[in-house]
Amino acid sequence: MNTTNTRLQVMWNRLLAVVEEQGQALIRAAFSPIVRECGDISAGIFDVRGRMLAQAVTGTPGHINTMAEAVKTLCGRYSRSEMKPGDIFLTNDPWIASGHLNDFLLVMPVFHRGNVVGFSACTSHLVDLGGLGMGPEGSDIFDEGLRIPPCKLVDQGQLNALLMDIVKANSREPIANEGDIYALIACCETGAARLADMMVEFGIDTLDSLADYIIETSRRGTIEAISALPNGTWHNVLTVDGYECEIDLCAALTIADDRVLIDFSGTSGLSRKGINVPLNYATAYTVFALRCIIGPDIPNNAGSLAPFHVTGPADCILNAQPPAPVAMRHTLGQMTPDLVYGCLSQALPDAVPAEGASCMYDLPLRHAPEAVSRGGTQFALELVFSGGTGARPSLDGLSATAFPSGVWGSQIETTEAVAPVLITRRELRQDSGGPGRLRGGLGQNIEIRSSTGEDFMLFLSVERIANPAKGRHGGLAGAPGRIRLGPDGPDLPGKGEVRIGGGETLIFQTPGGGGFGPPDERSPLAVRQDVRDELVSARAAQHVYGVKP
């Protein structure tokens, strides 16, 4: 290393700061609750070849590889010579952008001294794109809403007004969509302007040497981390609830000297409902999970992502092809970390957590359909109540905490202020954490009813109702999720529409994480502390852990 390299490092730090700036600005201006609560956006800077140099660390890992690949694809559609300053390109094609129609990807070429030197890109989740709306009920992509192929959204600073009109005309939330698209444009422009400023400040004409430095340093660091792992191939099958029937997710993990391969061969075929996952999205969560263990300190870019390769046979449920419905691709996409951790833990028994609730436990609530004509209260809420994470090799799991997504939970008071619901309970669910030497995180007990006596609707797409989070190395499973209307109501499945009567209470119990190591190896002190804190009942302490409180 020499002084030139410290300078390159300063510029690298600058790029990381720029993408974080872009990301924060986008989150603040966004209209979709999923963006606000989960930071479901991404922002990145790319070199002239479309290689990702820096990406904001945002709430959801679903954009990690998707954006890196999407910009390459989009850049490949247009020649550099036909790009003009002020152009911005757009697509929401799930197989190019981010796995479902709601995610809009924008890419803007950055000009410096008359030449394209790189790209600024961002993605954000828009509230509504028409079709059947966010839910698993579509039978193909055409049911799910408006699909926009790669096209020019802004031509030398002039907005494509027809395109904007089409987006608005195809949405239940036209004003919010328009606001979100303008926020995305501003985000792209900010990134492009900051990149050009930096090049002036540091007196560079191209990003080439900076790009090579970032990518090579990151690739080398990642390969060093991989080379420290044992070589071999490990298999795992994760059975999940699915919609119409249970689904097997299969993976083979191969660790070679300089790369990691994941192959989904053997995975069940497509669902008829919108829980199918395009491979770009499955790849994002898979690689995120691996990078949590292998080189987590290295920023995401083309170099750190390059050694990871994910494949799967076409039209297995983790490599859905058009026109499969994919609106709720996150439900199974977020299960892929547990799938690959089942492989990785065979190679690294002491580095990988047990299975967790994993899939986002969200509660999309809407007014009943007749409220519109009857003048009843109209509302739409997207509440999130996470389950527990799996126990870690040296720490208990986290209770009521999202993983792998970085979703935020909702606050009761602000929820009740904006929507006609009354939440009467939100507490940790005793004994739901999978027993083990390290205990899984606990799920929650949630009780919700209407505050006006009107019926309302719930659109479910959650997992771990029939297949709870398994423990690891002798640890026991966490409690499965459970959904009922009233304490005596029958158990409901994890997917589909539910109508909650005006006087009924929805009881929603989120799953616990699995335990790590045999429960009888848990320290009696820790068990007694759990009993004192009433996280574990005295009965379970005695029966499961063999500890008299």
Binding site: F31, I175, F385, T414, L428
Partner: protein, 699 residues
């Protein structure tokens, strides 16, 4: 003794030093001192400092007519976990507000992260029946029958203080008040903090955390403040003592003892007030204050002479400086970003060969290697020493000898050899990284606030602010820097410019299309009366001003924008004005308003304040003179990267109108101002140092 009627005294007790400043009635600084903090009883150190400045000015306590105190005691009690044992009481069904929080991991890739310790274990989390709705209507009465059981559980838990946070109490405090009365009847010595008094805003997790933090430090702070007052009274102080708050106003001892959470982070607030004052005196309308000390740097944006404010911050972060890893506190504060970058910040080379600086700090002990106290880590100060920017003989008034060889050795061992760089270039690289991280944090903060950094004047102070100002400024494209007088005791000086003030932010949901104006006006009257009472006690005769704001957003968004309201009852005509103001502020922040989208208002605020001390504009300087250096030093030029000669100047010898060109070092007892080669320095009529970037085309 001189005729010193109306002396004003400020005491800022920090973790390491207690800063004391004495001012006369015309706002002239008469004396300042920095004395060691006495952790066993900080009042002892405060008395030593106060006596010293009074002696220096040949005056005594009876002549002091204004006394302002700020302390990190409240902050430290929270960080060091030295508070009371607290129990919580929440509404039945919501025992786990604290455990559940926002259900969030603060670090995306860290599967082994540990959540912050929020002070109350689940075993001391109790509940009581009774429920309000979001409008403040009672759905279920308070469960009076359950009270005996609750009292018994609190007694059994050995809690010394209780934090009560019932659902929607900001909208109707009836249950919280009734619960307090019942508890005090059974347990008269129990310290009780009620959430609707501490932080009357919606969002139960934030409100509970704030109430817990208040309850946690309340017994200790109430005792400290009573003792502080009686010891100073015994010395002859007859004026009331006012306490500095995080919001940048002063409050009475009574309010401070009841709501000590308001005292947290009051020291840095003093620095921002000083910067705002200097902005006003020099007419700088867009300013960034840059306060760099031994472990952290703090930046605050100041527009039209008002520091930017916020309603929420975090304390005691589990992972230092990572957002979301601490305990949220929701009170009105001067908004500052804090970066783990100070003189003691430690540099290292990571496994990718990247040079990283901070946030770990060598602290006061052992401190940088250059201090010769056995520190081996390479720090920011060591890099400055190796580059020749710190004069070994003059550091800290000559009380601390600088060991240049130790600094060079640490830089070589920790950085130079790993990167194959000579020590001077390794030192320069270290400075570049830390200066860039401060500049990046500043730019990010400006962007989040919808503001530009480059067009601002930087006002730099703190022990290391003047040393790093030009280097950080260049990276933010800032062209003008002001170094005030007495920059190393900036916060204490700032205290003396603060008004007596109290701000209340309270939640009340409304949509702009259907506001309940009568209800809203009554709501404001009540809040105003409460704030007025708090301020009147500290400023009995002053003419008070009232400032009202609404926190608005588009329906569906999560981020609110503050909009000023007129100080009168709101009428139907105000609705359109509010809409217009919101849309224009929104388009300033996000480039474009969103016409047709519904607008909602979540919170409302009232601030009552006394006028700040009279302002004197900095007089013009009659003529410019070129100052002559009192010596020279070899330094590594941060612009050219080559060793060169820099002039050394004594700040106390510089007079208004003096100017000089970089590279230069301007020394004063507690700090050094480094004038880079691309800056020139001049002294204005008020004694402030101005550093102006020399425009390239003027060369």
């Amino acid at each position: 003794m001189h005729n010193h009627a109306g002396l004003r005294l400020a005491v800022d007790i920090g973790g390491t030093f207690t800063d004391t400043v004495l001012m006369d009635g015309q706002s002239n600084i008469l004396a300042t001192t920095k004395t060691p903090t006495t952790p066993d009883n900080p009042t002892v150190g405060a008395l030593i400092g106060a006596k010293r400045v009074l002696d220096d000015a040949n005056a005594g306590f009876p002549q002091v007519s204004g006394f302002i105190h700020g302390t990190t005691l409240a902050t430290n009690a929270l960080i060091e976990r030295r508070g009371a044992s607290v129990a919580t009481i929440t509404t039945d069904g919501f025992r786990d507000i604290l455990e559940i929080g926002y259900e969030r991991r603060y670090s995306q890739y860290d599967i082994n992260l540990v959540k912050p310790d929020l002070l109350v274990p689940r075993a001391r989390a109790f509940t009581i029946g009774g429920r309000m709705d979001a409008r403040g209507d009672e759905l279920t009465p308070l469960d009076v029958a359950g009270m005996d059981d609750l009292v018994r559980r609190i007694e059994d838990s050995d809690a010394q203080a209780v934090a009560v946070c019932l659902m929607h109490s900001y909208a109707n405090p009836k249950h919280e008040l009734a619960l307090r009365d019942q508890l005090l009847r059974a347990l008269p010595d129990l310290a009780i903090s009620l959430s609707h008094e501490v932080s009357p805003e919606a969002r139960e997790f934030d409100r509970l955390c704030t109430t817990i933090a208040n309850a946690y430090i309340q017994p200790q702070m109430a005792g400290y403040l009573a003792d502080f007052q009686s010891r100073f009274a015994a010395e002859g102080l007859s004026c009331p003592i006012l306490m500095m708050t995080a919001g940048g106003g002063m409050t009475t001892l009574e309010t401070a003892a009841r709501l000590p959470i308001r005292l947290v982070e009051s020291g840095p607030a003093g620095g921002a007030i000083l910067a705002a004052r200097i902005a006003a005196e020099t007419g700088a309308r867009a300013v960034t204050s840059f306060d760099m000390g031994g472990t952290t740097a703090k930046l605050c944006l100041i527009d039209a002479f008002r520091p930017q404010t916020a309603r929420r911050f975090e304390i005691a972060r589990a992972a230092r400086f990572i957002k979301g890893s601490g305990m949220p506190v929701r009170i009105p504060v001067i908004e500052m970003i804090e970066i783990g970058a100070g003189g003691g910040s430690i540099a290292r080379v990571d496994r990718l060969g990247r040079l990283q600086v901070g946030p770990e700090s060598a602290g006061a002990q052992p401190g940088p290697a250059a201090f010769g106290n056995g520190g081996r880590a390479a720090t920011v100060t060591d890099a400055d020493v190796v580059q020749g920017l710190i004069e070994p003989g003059r550091f800290a008034e000559g009380r601390l000898t600088i060991d240049t060889a130790a600094a060079e050795q640490a830089i070589t061992l920790e950085i130079g050899s790993a990167l194959d760089l000579a020590p001077d270039l390794a030192a320069r690289g270290l400075s570049e990284i830390v200066d860039e991280s401060m500049a990046a944090a500043g730019r990010m903060h400006a962007v989040e606030s919808g503001k530009e950094l480059a067009t601002r004047v930087m006002i730099a102070f703190g022990g290391n602010g003047p040393l790093h100002a030009t280097r950080v400024a260049r990276r933010c494209q800032v062209d003008q820097i002001v170094i005030p007088k007495d920059p190393s005791v900036g916060s204490a000086v700032g205290f003396l410019y603060a008004p007596v003030a109290f701000e209340i932010v309270r939640s009340r949901y409304a949509t702009l299309d259907q506001p309940d104006l009568d209800g809203l006006n009554a709501f404001f009257d009540e809040m105003t009366a409460e704030a007025l009472a708090a301020v009147r006690a500290g400023a009995p005769e002053a003419e008070l001003s009232i400032r009202k704001q609404a926190f608005m957003r588009y329906h569906g968004q999560g981020h609110e924008i503050e909009i000023a309201l007129p100080d009168r009852a709101l009428g139907p005509a105000d609705i359109e004005i509010l809409r217009r103001d919101f849309e224009s502020e929104y388009s300033r922040l996000f480039r474009r308003a969103v016409p047709g989208m519904a607008i909602e208002i979540l919170n409302w605020s009232v601030e009552v304040s006394s006028p700040a001390p009279d302002l004197s504009r900095v007089p013009d300087v009659a003529q410019q003179r070129t100052a002559r250096p009192c010596g020279h030093r070899r330094i590594l030029c941060d612009v050219s990267g080559h060793w060169c000669d820099a002039g050394i100047y004594d700040r106390s010898a510089l007079e208004p109108g003096d100017s000089l060109r970089g590279p230069a070092l301007i020394a004063e007892p507690q700090t050094t101002t480094f004038v880079s080669a691309d800056f020139q320095a001049s002294v204005d009529g008020g004694g402030n140092l101005w550093l102006n970037r020399i425009q390239e085309d003027a060369e």
